[in-house]
Amino acid sequence: MLYPLKNIESVWSFNYFEWEIVWEGNMDNELAIRKIYDAYYGVMMKIAIGILKDYALAEDAVSISLVKINRNLDFLDKLTGYQKRGYIVNIVKNTSRDILRKRGKDSVIKDVTDDFFDTLHGCEDDILDDLIMKEGCASIKKAIKSLPDKLREVVYLFAVYQQSHEEISQKLGITGNASKMRLHRAKQKIKKLLAGENDGK
């Protein structure tokens, strides 16, 4: 008597049985990724072309991004609407910049204000904080939008998606310390922008 394939769960005949069963389990993830591709390929291409300015490279960025999305599928499943879209957009932006960097054509201009903020002295922070606390959410939002891409994406990952610095570092391909430093600079820049706005009033 011979057993049908699906009934063989504990027979250690040859591993292909378990292999085939595992393959069936993977189909869910594979379908999920294909659904994401079907739904978001347009926005992914738009973002990638915007950075890479090359259709073929943009296609590469989209396909690589899908691999990264697959590795974060569990997290992505918890998101909906603009947050899900934002996460996917974030991945594509990062992938596109990686491609540019590897081709030696990173056209992102180093934000000279990063160096400026490095020289901020601690004694000014208290004054800025007092000013900032009087500002509303709207001003902070405006400041976030004016941040350079590299700083803004860390703010989104940290504040919106509540990722740890370790998770952020893995996603962006930077060290944990670099992630902390970018967040710190982002906060400093926001505070400075708010203080400057307040001075103008």
């Binding site: 294909r34 926005v43 073929a56 904080d129 709207a138 939002k141 989104y156 919106v160």
Partner: protein, 239 residues
């Protein structure tokens, strides 16, 4: 001084809380500023080259995942050396105890699987030694090798997600079921004799080449096209 420190800490916490809300609103507005997905999908229609690239990376990604799990499975099996030997013998024999084996493989093709029973032969008198592959596709590296008394197994994988498993097994008390939903079965005369060929019809699945030499069964499973698998099989020898 202490009061100032406490104010700073409180302010920082308040700022972080405001930051979370503001960042969420900023993200929402940034995403809303983009056209809807349906519109963007029309503005950037899918091309054949994009679909091809996406299919290729998805295929590699899930092959890699399947390979890792297969390796884990192999490792588990190999870890129970005597148990495995008993299982392939006793467990199947407990089902097939009253069955009479014929000399050649008995193949039973059912609806969703193909069953192959190999014959009772003499117990192998020598220990299995190594399998040697005189032909191996580019990029494949050996990642696992198990040499048991009645089974040899070698697993190869490549960075591109291709995988290959080569096995030599004692034909005594041996039963193999192969899912034929995604495979076409045929027999072909190869250099080493008549081989059973299970060629996948699903681009994401595996093909199998199997043949007997004496009381031994050889099984080559891989992600390659069938002609490559046949070439690997024909260039396999035992030390």
């Amino acid at each position: 001084m202490m009061e100032n420190n406490m104010n700073t800490t409180t302010n920082e916490k308040l700022f972080d809380a405001l930051l979370r809300v503001a960042a969420d609103e900023a993200l929402r507005e940034e995403m809303d500023a983009l056209p809807p997905d349906e519109e963007l999908n029309k503005m950037y229609p899918r091309t054949k080259s994009l679909d091809k690239k996406v299919n290729a990376v998805i295929k590699r990604e899930f092959r890699a995942i399947r390979m890792k799990r297969a390796i884990l499975t192999f490792t588990k099996i190999a870890a129970g050396i005597s148990l495995f030997t008993v299982l392939t013998g006793a467990l199947l024999m407990s089902v097939e105890a009253s069955r009479n084996f014929i000399l050649n493989a008995l193949i039973d093709i059912r609806g969703d699987y193909i069953a192959i029973d190999f014959s009772i032969g003499a117990m192998p008198t020598t220990e299995y030694t190594g399998i040697v592959l005189d032909y191996l596709p580019e990029g494949l590296e050996l990642i696992s090798s198990q040499s048991l008394r009645r089974m040899n197994t070698k697993i190869f994988a490549s960075d591109t997600g291709d995988s290959l498993i080569v096995q030599q097994m004692a034909g005594e008390h041996l039963s193999i079921n192969i899912d034929n939903e995604y495979m076409e079965f045929s027999e072909r005369r190869l250099r080493m004799g008549t081989a059973r060929i299970f060629e996948t019809v699903d681009e994401y699945s595996y093909s199998v080449v199997m043949w007997e030499v004496g009381t031994d069964v050889f099984k080559v499973t891989g992600t390659f096209d069938i002609e490559t698998l046949i070439k690997i099989s024909e260039n396999l020898r035992v030390n």
